[in-house]
Symmetry: D2
Subunit: 358 residues, 4 copies
């Protein structure tokens, strides 16, 4: 037992994101996990559901009991499916708990956009205004004052970070952005289904939900928010981009390749300078000049986003490549980073180990 710790709850702890939250939080010197919930695994020791956590976590999965949660925890992580989170976040918020929600329910500012993409009305639209989109590299200071943080999706983390400097500096045509992202299979969660059955997913690459993936409006909202006033759209979602996700045969990681047309001719070195300056002092961004060193293999298990930016003068285009671990910087790690910011802990606490390669 650690002393003087922040007591935290993890709701939805039996999925891959939940497992990563438990892994990182058990190593966090300022935190004590006091309760962890699950659905199907209620009553099972964490050790049994996650054999890799044996000797690190003595808890047993419980069902969700809000009274018990609010009594035992001062901060609540929710790693639940969207719509499932919606009401629980509101209740925890009402009980004045710090809430870090890893679902999509509080990421979009506009309830109509939520409804349009998630096919269901948002039942706590007023709370959307309180939620801060938890990407520290863009919203650190607002996160520090927030009560409710919506952790970005995995794809949006990779996509927004790779495009933010270009958009913020007005260097590209906003209507030209195409994001071709490649994700490992853990991004689909821990529930077995034919698409993720080993023999189907192995020796395979496939495109899915082309132009229709629910992470699209998050990326649009954040990039539009970054755009310089003259080219920003009135409606936060009047700026459509094309996002095209792919499933690749690896356990973890996203490699995101984004394309856009430059508004004026620029060299690779110019672009690299823009990125270097934009991400100055960002400890979890590592800029790379050789695209072959940007790979999930080098960020696995870590909170890093490795990034490269390249000009293609032949087509007046810019290409950016980013790699993250979808379960860490794309979910649990970023959630812990959000907690650190929220609670005033040093931002990298619990997140500073290098990954194990290969």
């Amino acid at each position: 037992m650690k002393n003087n710790c922040l007591n935290v709850a993890v709701l939805g702890g039996s999925g891959y994101t939940g497992g990563e939250l438990l892994r990182i939080l058990t190593q966090h010197p300022r935190v004590q996990i006091t309760i962890v919930t699950a659905d199907k695994s209620v009553g099972l020791p964490v050790n049994q559901v996650f054999p890799h956590l044996e000797s690190f976590c003595g808890l047993t999965f419980e069902s969700i009991d809000l009274a018990r949660i609010t009594k035992l925890a001062d901060l609540v992580f929710l790693a639940l499916p969207h719509t499932r989170s919606m009401e629980l976040v509101a209740q925890c918020y009402k009980k004045k708990k710090h809430v870090i929600d890893l679902s999509a329910d509080y990421r979009l500012h506009d309830p109509q956009v939520y409804e349009q993409w998630y096919n269901t009305a948002h039942t706590h639209a007023s709370l959307l205004k309180k939620a801060v989109y938890g990407l520290p590299e863009l919203h650190r200071s607002r996160m520090a004052k927030a009560t409710l943080i919506a952790v970005p999706g995995c794809y949006p983390t990779a996509a927004i970070l790779q495009l933010a400097p270009l958009v913020a500096k007005g260097l590209i045509r906003l209507d030209s952005i195409i994001i071709d992202a490649k994700s490992g299979v853990s991004g689909a969660g821990r529930s077995p289904a034919l698409t993720y059955h080993f023999p189907e997913a192995h020796e395979s690459v496939l495109a899915y939900k082309i132009g229709a993936h629910r992470h699209t409006p998050e990326i649009e909202q954040e990039l539009n928010g970054l755009a310089p006033r003259p080219i920003r759209k009135q409606s936060p979602h009047a700026f459509p981009l094309l996002f095209s996700p792919h499933l690749v045969p690896m356990n973890r990681g996203i490699l995101s390749t984004a394309y856009a047309r430059l508004r004026q001719p620029l060299h690779t070195t110019d672009l690299q300078n823009v990125y270097r300056s934009f991400y100055k002092d960002e400890r979890f961004i590592r800029l790379r000049t050789d695209s072959t060193t940007i790979s999930p293999n080098h960020v696995r298990g870590t909170n890093f986003c490795d990034l490269g930016i390249f000009a293609d003068p032949r087509t007046h285009s810019v290409i950016t490549v980013s790699a993250i671990d979808n379960l860490v910087k794309g979910a649990a790690g970023q959630a812990v980073q959000a907690m650190n910011i929220l609670m005033g802990f040093p931002e990298g606490t619990g997140l500073t180990s290098p990954g194990a390669f290969p």
Copy 2:
């Protein structure tokens, strides 16, 4: 020993493409392989270099002896590195042999473009005019009359087939094409190198040679050639597109995702009709309406190109996805298809087995 067969030579038979040529040709009812060459494996039985071919091929790798080759074979396949092929093709051609070259040396019509991308002068520029680009779906009739066929590269096969109907029908803006391709590791050949060392390539995806891959000018040449007169460029290479290859952790296969802006609004079903009509009677093209069924897993070991076409009305874009086996439709299978056309054999001879899934 088969009777009344075409005698063929395979130059460069010890790489993955060579191995596939041997696999397919040993099963071809109209062909007898009479000689197979290699560099480092000279003197070794094919069986030893390719244990999977044991009981199918009794030959031994020889060094290249042109007199012997032209004596023993009426048709020569060259699966050699570029520049290595250049002179040998010319010599076989001179000896009035049918030549099917799998290297890049005779794919580009313009020797200056060759020099620009391959950093070396083309020493047989006049022969370039005789060579036919061996993509049957575009050039079948010219291939039937050819003596020298240059088999397309693996990426160009996937890319040209997926974009040809859009370009030929003038449906997209030619300056808007972006091709994001994902290849299995066998595409890099059989010579060990750090990038393809198992622990480096596994659990990894990476982008390489962004905007600079040598397959780019092939794609440009062929698509420009297809464009309707009014929008076609004077110079066959005045039409730059952005081609961005990626390495993914699988043995075989390419998934190519291509993006372009529509010149006029079209629905997915309109586009599908265009493709259905364009590829009518093409036995090796299978059109798919669900992108998740387009995957290397479903074409492995076969000469098929599985294809899908999708409109994204939000961004006025079209997305096409194609899957091929890089070593079959992307190399050896297409070479045999070329031979069938050249020799007047039924086009699918030796190429009509379904793949083994999974």
Copy 3:
């Protein structure tokens, strides 16, 4: 439509073994598939359940209707779960159909042994005497006269073939056999489950059902049957061996490593001679002297069993290594080989393509 063909039914055609039966049978020159059944996929075209079979199979999955099956087919393949096959085989047999059963229901001669390992009584024990264990290398002549053939399990195929010469020649102590087998994930079938969920099975190897796998009694029965009279056991199952299966992260294939103590000192070359002689003229057995060339990678998609035999003089032991494709020689291919023998077709018909490597 092929003419003068044997009409066959495939019951249970939507699993991986069923898919392989369809793949091989559509290419078989003497066979016409007239009906294919499934459970959950009833009403779906084969093409939709197996996109790789598009353009090869125009059938639609039906539910099992015995009258229709016996009317449309002269030979019935059953690729159904054990117990599910038991009654259907009996009914087809009664209707005087040729039956090739890929389940475990008719492999064991002794109904008590069946009951002991499968925890259920055998309801057609008398039919067990009619069934021939369909391993051609051991029972070819009896198979040729059979009406009901029980196709061996995948592990037993690899294990029996690798040990048969040693046992038949009395070279090893029967009580010393240990089989450590490694299987790809397709061996577990096509139904998703957590163990076979990509992120769980990838980057993993695990042992399961150690000493308790249901393929054990098959191996014991067949090896005991081979043993020279003086050392053979009275009861076919009085000869226990240790079989230990493992799951490895690949799609297809089994590598089986078996160990036994030699009854007298023998060199590797002595043992190789025994094997060469025992498997003389067996077209699907390829003997190898270098263990590193025995791998699922070299038999994928084929009906081969690649085999090696090695002495370890330090421990007076013998080690044999065998590789098969679990879905071909371990299931569908062997079933077609059985059909060929049963119907008097040349034994290799439809099974003579080399595999695609890598």
Copy 4:
């Protein structure tokens, strides 16, 4: 810069084991890496050779300069090939440095056995007596007083730990041990070669060096040393066992399955009690009752050895299964554990993070 730290050198830091040493040591609170050497990478920043270590290690690879090493470091790790280590260890030892050697050069007590297996004479045979075999679970107290520790090989770590209780308690016949081990490809090191070229190793499993792998005598030496006096052999290597390694398509990890005949009938629960007692208080041993939870997937990146023990009453045998990360408990982690013991640091320092699953 950390204060009051032990200064350490890492010789041979550019391979996978070297990379893991750097990863672990940069996180170790009591250690400062002052020099790291390599061969081919001399002059390159560690960051460039290991992009995953960017922002963790500012060093540059140097060539080996013994004067400089002994000046800058008080403890030297050698992650060099065998024979390469032999002389360097002797020189560091002579300079009164603490030496932790990860090669095979100082693991075997008997120089003749070394010569027999490594085909070269040991040039510092007298130093073998000073070296302690660095398996903490067996030799902790001797390690604490040592100057030179020879870190066990990866396979021996898995094999000795899984068999030690059985041997030490005299429960099995020593002449019956068979070890069938399965290793990920990183075990072969970082130098590219055809066997480890991605397309060759993927979708493959193979056995190599059956009965002839150099890790065999280590296992024999240590197990014989553990055997109760009456059954121990005079010569430490008069006790031959059969060790059979396999290569499986994963990056990291070993799963070792060992078999032996019981000297008296015992139940699984009896055996589990023996193990529980033998490994009481061992923080890096986790005993498992379900073999399917013992997998490299659950120990990746960690210093754990997960272990299971199972009786097979049918064959009077015992089966044990163990899983380690070959680069951590099988190399770099165990080396750091050795350092901790040697220097009197808490044994788990720098080694107590759970692995990232999946």
